[in-house]
Symmetry: C2
Subunit: 288 residues, 2 copies
């Protein structure tokens, strides 16, 4: 059984057929039932129950989808918080609303950064309820980006490789990660990143779980890989440190014990899901 | 054991550290050893052995990586063939060269379609050996796109769902597919696409294999899903037809028999890999 990652799940009914029906979408946006997300400090706001805050639609530019009660929109935005500022909010966001939160954040940010046609340089128009931009000069159509990122734990003789970047909180260690490039599949990207960042070769790569990550618009693809050796050559341009952790150390860190040898990744990060999944697998293997 | 898909594998050593070393990259590009891809009719050319055709570098704009013999570049291009024109070439392309073929095609095409800064509309500059463009006006940096696509076979009581699009060759049926959107993970995208295109609900989604698909720059993520029922509601805007095929029908189609009830996807398509993998699994299940 694969684990659930944060930001994963169906979220709203995206009702994508409505994106192609300009008249109907306009009617819906102007209906009294239409609601829009409230934004604050560069993020969609949530109420005290951890649910997305909604208000009657005033600037319904981006059509996010339908609930049983209402069509949901978001206004356009100019300013966006980064992931580090969002973690407080993510700790209390209801998982049921997290896909909508992620879609709104990525989509609004994509528009703010893609006002102009990359093909000809002309200002482009928002079309299809915000799910595309069309250039009135050259007719090129541009779609929101989703950037695949591989994020992986490498295993060697029962220990896992985790690393830390300089901007992490003190003593935080997490899974290594990197953008997948054109001409690669998942397995090739995982092997390349582990070779580049830690100097290790891997044999078997297994998909574990995936998660949209709206800072700004990644698809995190979580994998497990078996390393051929534990000899590390760390790329100090990418990582401040990387080392191997035992099952006991990981268990202790995830339990939140003060004596833990490192701080694990936070709840909303798929790196934590990868560690939890690995501990479960290991338990299943050693069960009688 | 997961199957290998075409275009998958490590390909060249991408030597990404060289992208950040402008002086060294310039020296390499001007060295007598430097080679570049030859292009013809919108595709990288291949020789009679199915290998990528190379010539001394004349316009080494895009740095693809290193072989043991030479650094490999590609010139920029204006015209590109689509997938249907490429299938003849793909049938004879050496799999070892396919990741480089895919990277060159996607990268060259991305540059041709992204000359201008999407943030401010100014003409941007090629930097990092072609792996990024930087805007001299607003300093925004733009990276090549990789668009994740989910492609999946749905199973119900031992039969598989395949569909056909109007532009397919006669009687060709293949796996259903669609672009993953912001705010979705793999499993949610598979469930949404199967619901939208075929009207079925699915329970379990499993990753099988992935493949870069350079028409223009997709990452095809191949999955298997278990359908809750076999009652179809086909979206005729997306599909001309969709139906359930038995194991025997799929086996016969893949064997190339003239009596086959449908034409399967061609060799280079991951849809074919998904079908081959499913037949193998099924055999393993029914083995004594």
């Amino acid at each position: 059984m694969l684990p659930d990652a944060f930001f994963a799940g169906p979220g709203l009914d995206r009702a994508d057929h409505l994106r192609f029906d300009e008249e109907e979408l306009k009617r819906i946006a102007q209906s009294p039932a239409a609601r829009e997300l409230v934004w604050s400090e560069g993020l969609p706001s949530i109420d005290q129950d951890g649910r997305l805050q909604l208000q009657p639609a005033q600037d319904p530019q981006l059509f996010l989808g339908l609930t049983t009660d209402a069509p949901i929109f978001s206004p356009l935005q100019d300013e966006f918080a980064d992931a580090w500022k969002a973690f407080g909010l993510l700790a209390i966001l209801d998982p049921a609303d997290s896909p909508t939160f992620a879609a709104a954040l990525s989509l609004a940010r994509w528009h703010a950064r893609h006002l102009f046609c990359a093909r000809c340089g002309h200002l482009s128009d928002i079309v299809r309820g915000g799910w595309s931009r069309r250039c009135p000069a050259c007719a090129a159509e541009h779609f929101p980006r989703v950037d695949p990122v591989v994020i992986m734990i490498a295993e060697h003789e029962g220990r896992l490789l985790l690393g830390r970047q300089p901007h992490y909180p003190p003593n935080r260690y997490s899974a290594l990660a990197g953008f997948l490039e054109v001409g690669e599949n998942l397995e090739a990207a995982v092997a390349r990143e582990l070779k580049e960042e830690a100097g290790i070769e891997v044999d078997r790569v297994t998909y574990v779980a995936s998660q949209p990550w709206p800072f700004p618009s990644s698809l995190m693809i979580g994998c497990h890989a078996m390393a051929r050796s534990d000899e590390l050559t760390i790329d100090i341009n990418e990582l401040e440190d990387a080392r191997w952790f035992t099952r006991g150390e990981i268990q202790e860190a995830l339990s939140g014990a003060l004596s833990a040898s490192f701080q694990p990744p936070p709840r909303a990060a798929i790196a934590r899901t990868l560690l939890e999944h690995w501990l479960q697998l290991d338990e299943a293997d050693s069960a009688p």
